[in-house]
């Protein structure tokens, strides 16, 4: 069809013929949200539930997390699963800094989000003080379905479809600006 028809026809008609309109930003964030590759950062009990979320019953791979990359340089999502001890905190910061931008962090479980049931000399009380966290998942441990829900919320956040209480759209997350 000629260029003239492109301007004259309705958007719906064009979509039926296979031509979609979008912005580059939306396209890129759509691609990013559907291919979040987590880096393996399982620490304790939540790591077991994270492994269970990849098994055949709760398949995390259908949301795009096809592989859990062992090397942080090939991953863009870090799921902090388990209690973070103060000895491990510098290691975690280093792994986070090795991940290329854009990157996101899910804090899985009560221990990562707030120290959980351990408030003592050994556990970091909020992982947010070491790495910037996007999604907190409560639970001890959170069910695999809860982790899948968290990944879905992160996908929404990456695409910019998140709204606050008043109904105003929150800006799209640009990981490289943090």
């Amino acid at each position: 069809m000629g260029l003239r028809e492109l301007f004259e026809k309705d958007v719906q008609e064009l979509e039926n013929e296979g031509i979609l309109f979008s912005t580059l930003r939306k396209l890129v964030s759509w691609g990013r949200s559907n291919s979040l590759w987590p880096a393996t950062f399982g620490l304790a009990c939540c790591a077991i539930e994270m492994m269970q979320s990849t098994n055949s019953r709760n398949d995390l791979a259908r949301f795009g997390s096809e592989v859990f990359r062992a090397s942080p340089r090939q991953a863009d999502l870090m799921i902090v699963a388990g209690r973070l001890s103060k000895k491990m905190a510098p290691v975690m910061r280093r792994v986070y800094e090795q991940m290329p931008d854009p990157k996101w962090v899910i804090s899985m479980g009560a221990c990562a989000s707030s120290g959980g049931m351990f408030n003592n000399y050994a556990i970091v009380q909020n992982v947010d003080s070491v790495v910037p966290v996007d999604i907190f998942v409560p639970g001890c441990p959170p069910r695999p379905e809860a982790l899948v829900y968290a990944v879905m919320q992160l996908q929404k956040k990456v695409r910019g479809e998140v709204f606050d209480d008043k109904g105003l759209a929150l800006p799209m997350v640009e990981g490289w600006k943090r």
Binding site: E49, S56, F68, K87, V91, V95, P141
Partner: protein, 404 residues
């Protein structure tokens, strides 16, 4: 260090001197089964020295449990070894009950045994899944996880959670089993042997599995005993020690089950011992289910167990007991106690010191994985670096248990 003979190069030398290479494995590593850090000295691919650096998951359990009541300690014990949480719960609860002199009714004991053995099967399934995953085979992981999900469904029926249960109480259990549990467990027992045959078909005769596990990481009987190895790894080296039969607790003397042992002490033996243990645990579950009779599930002593909810509406004493138990907790007499049990990893025991207060004075967890990890060095020495991964997998450490 070694000297290799090569063809003479431009400088005319016919010998090539090498040095030891020190590399760091972990703590963030896909194959170390948790946050374990190893500092390895390599000569080519051969390991000359291995030094585990642990503590990256140190949570201060023992110190924290000194600031919680005895009943609240049950929430902490199963988070140490999160793969066999019921074993820690059982060991802790048995220790407190020994201190108190509590009488646990028979039904509660049998249900405890059923759940602990099911958890042992789930832990061994995870061992197989991740152990063979470390070898590079992805498929058995999904098969074993399928069975593990069924066992976790059973736990969810009883306790409401799949992992990190809060079901055992000092004096018995929190509440009774739901009706659906027994038919569901019997269905699992009926179908499980066929699944075990499937796993056997998947890897037991596989050439790659056999060549990567046979003769690898041999731990002799003397080395195993010198390094205080316990559990399935010790039984794979020829010592038939199983605390369920050597020092029976919680009614284990009533059940008829065998303790599989092997003599070769290599990775293959450790895998096969755990494989056979799964069917033995299933036998125990079946026998315990057959002997389950209706009855109370808590020690009737009101100073230890909470009174049933209906009594709170009519009896003032029940309300007072309830109040005291929930706010303050019970006071065991002064003394020290130790109860050895068998977890999926080895000998597990809680050494409790009581000073007469409502919180323990000292809780020492004899964690099996910490002692087992020491046997990693003799197993890996003069072996290849790739075999180290299999050695770690076969010793089955859980870092929560190691670092406490």
């Amino acid at each position: 260090m070694s000297k290799l003979k090569v063809a003479p190069g431009p400088a005319g030398k016919a010998e090539f001197e090498t040095k030891l290479l020190r590399i760091n494995v972990g703590p963030q590593h896909p194959s170390t089964h948790g946050v374990l850090r190893l500092v390895v000295d390599l000569d080519g691919e051969v390991i000359k020295r291995l030094s585990p650096q642990i503590g990256y998951l140190h949570t201060g359990f023992e110190k924290t449990m000194e600031h919680r009541t005895y009943q609240q300690g049950v929430t902490y014990s199963n988070r140490m070894d999160y793969l066999h949480g019921f074993a820690h719960d059982l060991a802790y609860v048995l220790a407190v009950e020994k201190l108190l002199g509590a009488q646990v009714p028979e039904r509660a004991e049998r249900i405890r045994v059923i759940l602990t053995e099911l958890n042992r099967i789930a832990s061994h399934l995870m061992f197989f899944g991740t152990g063979i995953l470390d070898m590079g085979a992805l498929t058995p992981f999904f098969y074993t996880m399928r069975e593990r999900e069924r066992i976790l469904d059973l736990f969810e029926l009883v306790c409401g959670v799949r992992m990190n249960y809060g079901y055992f109480r000092v004096g018995g259990l929190a509440y009774d089993l739901p009706e659906e549990f027994i038919p569901a467990t019997r269905a699992l027992i009926a179908e499980f042997p066929a699944m075990l045959k499937q796993y056997e078909a998947l890897f037991a005769k596989n050439d790659i599995f056999l060549s990567r596990t046979q003769g690898v990481g041999v731990i002799s009987k003397e080395t195993a005993l010198a390094y205080s190895l316990t559990g399935s790894s010790l039984r794979a080296s020829g010592v038939p020690l199983d605390h369920r039969q050597a020092n029976p607790y919680s009614g284990y003397q009533d059940y008829d089950f065998a303790v599989p042992t092997a003599t070769s002490g290599d990775v293959y033996a450790r895998f096969m011992v755990r494989f056979k243990e799964m069917s033995e645990s299933l036998k125990i579950v079946e026998q315990a289910l057959d002997r389950l009779t209706p009855g109370p599930i808590q020690d009737p002593n009101r100073r230890i167990s909470l009174p049933p909810r209906q009594e709170l509406e009519t009896s003032m004493e029940a309300v007072i007991f309830h109040f005291k138990l929930v706010t303050e907790g019970f006071h065991p007499p002064r003394g020290e106690v130790y109860v050895p049990t068998e977890s999926a990893r080895g000998e597990l025991g809680y050494y409790l010191v009581s000073d007469g207060g409502s919180m323990p004075y000292r809780v020492k967890v004899r964690a099996p994985s910490l002692a087992n990890l020491q046997a990693l060095e003799p197993a890996c020495l003069d072996g290849l670096f790739a075999d180290m991964v299999m050695n770690i997998a076969s010793l089955d450490p859980v870092l929560g248990d190691v670092d406490k």
